[in-house]
């Protein structure tokens, strides 16, 4: 069992956050006592991921600069929390809950249905770069399963038909954020 990382893929051109996001970063820094601005790190990583889709090494170094902390402090955090994509992902990332209560109501079938429908395996991205399929541990929707989350939006009580509709809806841009 060896984790393989393609480091070349984890690099990307450095980009800066939009003025709105930068304003938000500055606001977040005022939410905590003087000198405790590292507390804003996770929120800032979310902001960066919303804008750039994933967190490249350059993005993380940029976040370290913004918060005046060492790059390793950002890597340590970004690699700990599973919401952060450290490799490039598709335009829409489907994260399907696979934990107990969702499994009891059929999440395994939903996952394999999406795999077949998009012709990718869990962890992969479609050739057109439109969809990435991931699994997630309990997303706190146990009574409403099976479910998936895509860009902070929940889709619950999934059936195969609903999944088909959902994929079409995302393809046609109905859920652009």
């Amino acid at each position: 069992m060896k984790l393989h990382v393609d480091w070349n893929k984890r690099h990307a051109e450095k980009r800066e956050l939009s003025p709105e996001s930068l304003a938000k970063v500055n606001e977040l820094m005022t939410h905590v006592p003087e000198g405790k601005h590292k507390s804003a790190l996770i929120r800032v990583l979310h902001l960066a991921q919303i804008e750039f889709g994933w967190l490249s090494i350059e993005t993380m170094d940029y976040v370290a600069e913004l918060l005046k902390i060492q790059p390793i402090e950002v890597y340590e955090v970004a690699t700990f929390y599973t919401m952060f994509h450290l490799d490039p992902v598709g335009k829409h990332v489907f994260e399907v809950c696979r934990t107990g209560p969702c499994m009891l109501v059929g999440s395994d079938d939903i996952i394999s249905h999406i795999e077949n429908k998009l012709n990718i395996k869990v962890g992969e991205t479609t050739e057109d770069g439109m969809f990435t399929l991931k699994t997630a541990e309990c997303l706190g929707a146990c009574g409403y399963g099976p479910m998936l989350q895509c860009r902070h939006k929940n889709h619950e009580f999934l059936t195969k038909d609903k999944v088909d509709e959902l994929i079409d809806a995302y393809r046609s841009g109905q859920f652009e954020s």
Partner: protein
């Protein structure tokens, strides 16, 4: 087909609704509607007519126990908070709801954000905090936005900020997200995460009440516990304590999932019978699709699983009740725990081995990796269970699992180790026959489920 949560109207549910009575009032997520329906009364009452200690006293009288899972008396936890001169202290609301089977806090925050904010103001006042936080799991980002909007309204109305209601009391309230880590529900991991670090639980002592956020005294409370402070202050601790049985006072949100006809979030009076909760028309309405009940995990994935014959009755043959005491009646051998109220129900078609493996995979995935028994033990159990589930196990593996369990339990930095060990131990304890069947009937186990387990003779 599961019934959509929107069809559930708490008005028609039995019992008092102290928390979610108003959940279906249109616009209740806004300050104005919430206020018109009696919202923020507890802040008015506490700040204008009570001392901080009076509020703590009411919470103590109420008998409220932490709703996150451990069930530790909230009033007592508050009274442990160190109060050194000149050192700020913090109240942090644990909204990192991630325990499989639990989705009650989400329901409450999504629909009644002001109830949590009201509870945070009243509780912060009681504890003498001037800066408080709601730490919400990153996967609930849309709820973070709901809360931020509600907080902005509360600031605009003078319920947050400087000199609240002209009393001289100042409070800032902020929401901070996690990034996807179950372990951040453990209070010291949560504090680390709030400081912008990896969610590694701290070595205790010191406890957060002495050294918590940024080294200052800190109280961490679950969303539901904080929300319950509102009715406790409004109606008095004694009134709250009158609901329930014995040391299980008040109401509790139960999130019901699995193979039920009507899963969802219910507010129950503690003391309701498990029988009525599962089968009653006002609650889950029995099993989905007319199936038989096989097993139940009554308090979230970390608590022991109960086989069908121990769900509605205790080993002594008494009615099992939804209370801290009754659900744990019989101890590890024949009982379970109320935990966080994540009530997961399995029908006859479910495989216990597969489910045990699924939860083991969850804990292995969520282990922070800091201490050796948890890092190595949880992943080892996951691998052994995977083999058993997939027809590649042997009988030795079942004893090995029990052995690994024993070496994790009690030896880890934080309770995640125990939480990972107990479900496996309990599943083997009650469903050993089904585990053995997976070894002795390897091929068959890949094509069909074992079915219901037999009640032990004389049980």
């Amino acid at each position: 087909m599961p019934i959509d949560q929107a069809n559930l109207n708490p008005k028609y549910m039995k019992g008092r609704k102290l928390l979610i009575e108003q959940v279906n009032i249109p616009g209740i997520e806004t300050f104005d509607v919430y206020r018109k329906n009696g919202g923020y009364r507890s802040v008015d009452k506490a700040i204008k007519t009570m001392s901080p200690d009076d509020v703590v006293e009411e919470v103590k009288k109420s008998g409220l126990r932490g709703r996150g899972g451990a069930g530790f008396p909230t009033g007592m936890k508050w009274s442990f908070l160190a109060k050194p001169e000149g050192v700020p202290r913090y109240l942090v609301c644990n909204a990192d709801e991630s325990e499989p089977g639990t989705f009650k806090d989400r329901y409450l925050m999504e629909h009644l954000p002001h109830l949590l904010i009201e509870g945070m103001i009243t509780s912060s006042y009681a504890l003498g905090c001037n800066l408080s936080f709601i730490y919400i799991r990153g996967e609930f980002m849309w709820i973070l936005h709901i809360l931020e909007k509600a907080i902005a309204e509360a600031y605009a109305q003078g319920y947050l900020g400087k000199n609240i209601l002209g009393s001289g009391y100042d409070l800032d309230l902020r929401v901070m997200p996690g990034g996807g880590a179950y372990i951040c529900g453990e209070e010291t991991a949560l504090i680390e995460s709030l400081e912008g670090k990896r969610g590694n639980p701290r070595i205790k002592p010191p406890f957060p009440a002495v050294k918590g956020l940024w080294g200052c005294p800190t109280v961490v409370n679950n969303v539901e516990s904080i929300a319950a402070v509102v009715p406790i202050v409004n109606d008095g601790g004694d009134a709250y304590a009158q609901i329930g049985i014995g040391r299980s006072t008040g109401t509790k949100l139960i999130s019901a999932s699995g193979n039920l006809a009507r899963p969802g979030v219910y507010e129950i009076d503690l003391g309701l019978s498990v029988e009525e909760f599962i089968y009653g028309d006002d609650y889950c309405r029995g099993m989905a699709n007319g199936k038989k009940l096989k097993a139940c995990i009554p308090g979230g994935s970390s608590v022991p699983i109960l086989p069908h014959y121990l769900v509605t009755k205790t080993a002594a043959g008494e009615d099992r009740l939804m209370t801290y005491e009754s659900l744990s009646d019989g101890g590890f051998a024949t009982g379970s725990m109320l935990g966080s109220g994540g009530f997961i129900v399995f029908d006859e078609d479910q495989c216990i081995v597969r489910n045990t493996w699924n939860f083991a995979r969850f804990y292995s995935h969520e282990s922070c990796g800091q201490c050796s028994p948890c890092r190595e033990g949880t992943s080892w159990m996951e691998k052994v269970l995977y083999r058993l589930e997939n027809g590649q196990g042997n009988l030795r593996d079942i004893d090995l699992l029990a052995e690994i369990n024993k070496k994790i339990e009690g030896n880890t930095i934080c309770p995640l180790g125990d939480a990972a060990a107990w479900p496996v131990a309990a599943a083997i304890h009650h469903f050993r026959e089904e585990f053995e069947w997976h070894v002795t009937n390897k091929e068959e186990s890949q094509t069909r489920n074992f079915g219901l387990s037999k009640e032990p003779v004389g049980a």
